[in-house]
Amino acid sequence: MIDLLASRWAYAAFVVLMVVGLYMMIASPNLVKKVIGLNVFQSAVFLFFIAAAYVVGGSPAIVPPDGGGGPYVSPLPHVIVLTAIVVGVSLTAVALALVVRIHDEYGTVDEAVVEEVADD
């Protein structure tokens, strides 16, 4: 167990971050904090891809003209994470815009209060 944690700590961090993110989304009544929880959850996924791509002693995949010079790190997971970050940022923007509108309408970002007001 200790061995596993010592060698695979990045994956352990991925799981912890994912669960923390999920917990924030479920437990926090504050809508902004829910969005932050969503960001934490997404960061966990990014960490997973980065950790999976890590190669001990690996260099960036820029191959010199004469070849050789490995081992190289696979660039694909990094590209995936870059794309996923862009997607995540645009989602956060939309989410915050919605929170602003909810605040304009109900004067609060507390989920319980919003539901109470909306039911009336």
């Binding site: 994912m18 999920l22 989304m25 809508l31 829910k34 969005v35 969503l38 959850f41 997404q42 996924v45 997973f48 891809f49 999976a52 696979s74 694909l76 997971p77 995936i80 794309t83 996923a84 997607v87 645009s90 989602l91 939309v94 989410a95 919605l98 929170v99 509108r101 909810i102 304009d104 309408e105 109900y106 919003v114 539901e115 909306a118």
Partner: protein, 518 residues
């Protein structure tokens, strides 16, 4: 020519989505025309793709000339062609509805076109990560559209949808990551090759689980459906019609694509527990969705819960992976899109004309709006699955597939859900035609002239609580009667006619799916 069709199918609406925003610098309310032209072009492209698929069996495009496993592939085959056709037809049809029903803002049509592009992307991509990106484009546009009437309730519903939808997409991405770590590729065909033989592997099992739960959230399968009734109920009627017909449909298509192309039926043979798990998940969804729909009184909410049940059916069809069941699932996927789109459009017309939003409000509307009520009746009966109709075909093939695969409980579940569907459709029809005429209703005003399909100006209604319309009549959710155009009624009637006509199209579906059926 055929090799550029697929990229154009995705690129045209995405690029055109910029135009309404640019136009809004100079003009207002011009977005609709941009969307109409784009969707017409899109329908032509879709027709060409469907024709090419029917001739060659499949159309491939290698984006940028990077062959697999490095590049991204766009593929249209017998499984995606019916969905491409559905997206193109519904996008065009909903525009006819939106012309009068609104919203008319330019920015609305930017999101609309972005959504069309995203849906097409999910449908034709042959790359698992690319599918995630398009799912998120679809999601982003949908969240914006749900909140398009700028009311507080729709913003709350959209935020709830956003948080759950993004969680679903992230879970899908984790599953894709596991599959990538296991195989080193993201191309669906390549993945299928490299996953073969390692099906019992824990990473592969986890990958399947994450992908399925993620897509289940997007599809709104019970108990992952909680975002969906709110989103459908509080979105403007135009948006509900559009997203109920397409967004969950395309997510369910993704479930089918992942099961059939990536994990393949061999995975289910190697790991029967995975198949059982999906079938149980689907069966619970079918029953719970129907039961919840049967106790609703609000029309849009009732139809939303009904969708939960219908998508359970589709997922069950895909998970059975027998030729009959998959055929049934695809037919039901397309059929449900048309039925639900038509029913939500009808709900929009009834709300605009009579202010009717609950089952109780529908009392005797069958005599005041005979055309729309008749279409509701036909669509409702199709939803129950009375032959000859597309609703019957889908359920029939799924049930036959279940029996042939030895999964008797699924056939029983299909039968039970049909009974429950009948219970809520019958309740609706009873209100429409046989409700006591003396019963006071919300919309018992003097608007008998708003009839016969062309009632462009609805009569003055005795409105109990006139909703203060703050931002220029852009809120179809207000209870005051609004204009109903011939186009809106035509959309409802067309959906009903096509839903019945497709009941004779088994042969067409079989020809298309011949190459992809397991």
């Amino acid at each position: 020519m055929t090799d550029v069709l697929l990229p154009l199918l995705v690129a045209v609406p995405v690029l055109a989505a910029v135009a309404p925003l640019l136009l809004s610098l100079r003009t207002t309310e011009t977005g609709w025309y941009v969307a109409a032209v784009t969707c017409a072009v899109e329908a032509t492209l879709a027709a060409a793709v469907v024709r090419a698929v029917s001739l060659d069996g499949a159309v491939r495009h290698v984006v940028g000339g990077y062959e697999r496993p490095y590049g991204i592939e766009l593929v249209a085959d017998g499984l995606s062609a019916p969905v491409v056709a559905l997206v193109a037809v519904v996008a065009l049809g909903v525009l006819a509805f939106a012309y009068t029903a609104g919203p008319r803002r330019n920015s609305f049509y930017s999101a609309y076109l972005l959504l069309v592009g995203g849906l097409m992307g999910v449908t034709v991509t042959g790359d698992l990560f690319n599918m995630f990106v398009f799912l998120e484009i679809t999601g982003l546009a949908t969240y914006a559209l749900v909140a398009a009437d700028r009311s507080g309730r729709s913003a709350v519903a959209a935020l709830k949808y956003l948080i759950l939808g993004t969680t679903g997409a992230s879970l899908f991405l984790i599953g894709v990551g596991y599959a990538f770590v296991e195989t080193g590729t993201l191309n669906m065909v390549d993945l299928a090759d490299r996953l073969a033989g390692g099906y019992g592997d824990r990473t592969v099992l986890a990958s399947f689980g994450f992908i399925l739960v993620g897509l289940g959230l997007k599809t709104a399968v019970f108990p992952l459906h909680t975002w969906q009734p709110d989103a459908y109920t509080y979105a403007p009627d135009t948006v509900t019609t559009f997203i109920s017909a397409l967004v969950s449909t395309v997510a369910a298509y993704a479930v089918g694509r992942v099961i059939l192309t990536v994990f393949t039926p061999a995975f289910f043979e190697a790991v029967p527990a995975a198949r059982t798990a999906v079938l149980v998940f689907a069966a619970v969804s079918i029953l719970a969705g129907s039961a919840l729909a049967a106790v609703q009184s609000e029309i849009k909410r009732l139809l939303a819960y009904s969708s939960v049940s219908q998508f359970g059916l589709v997922v069950a069809g895909f998970a059975l992976v027998t030729p009959d069941a998959v055929l049934g699932a695809v037919i039901h996927l397309v059929g449900h899109g048309l039925m639900k789109g038509g029913l939500f459009a009808a709900a929009g017309v009834m709300a605009a004309r009579h202010g009717a939003r609950t089952v109780g409000d529908y009392a005797r509307l069958g005599y005041r709006s005979p055309v729309v009520a008749g279409a509701v009746g036909v669509l409702g009966v199709v939803l129950v699955g009375v032959p000859p109709s597309v609703g019957f075909l889908g359920k029939w093939y799924i049930a036959v597939g279940a029996v042939r695969a030895g999964a008797w409980p699924i056939a029983v579940v299909v039968f039970l859900s049909t009974l429950l569907t009948l219970s809520y459709v019958a309740r609706l029809l009873e209100r429409l035609y046989f409700a006591g005429s003396t019963e006071p209703t919300v919309a018992a005003g003097a608007d008998a002239d708003a009839d016969a399909g062309t009632g462009a100006e609805a009569g003055v209604d005795v409105d109990p609580d006139p909703d203060p319309v703050a931002d220029g009549g852009d809120r179809p959710d207000s209870r005051a009667p609004a204009a109903v155009s011939t186009g809106m009624v035509a959309v409802v009637v067309a959906a009903a006619v096509v839903a019945v006509a497709l009941g004779f199209a088994t042969a067409a579906f079989e020809t298309f799916l011949g190459g992809v059926l397991p």
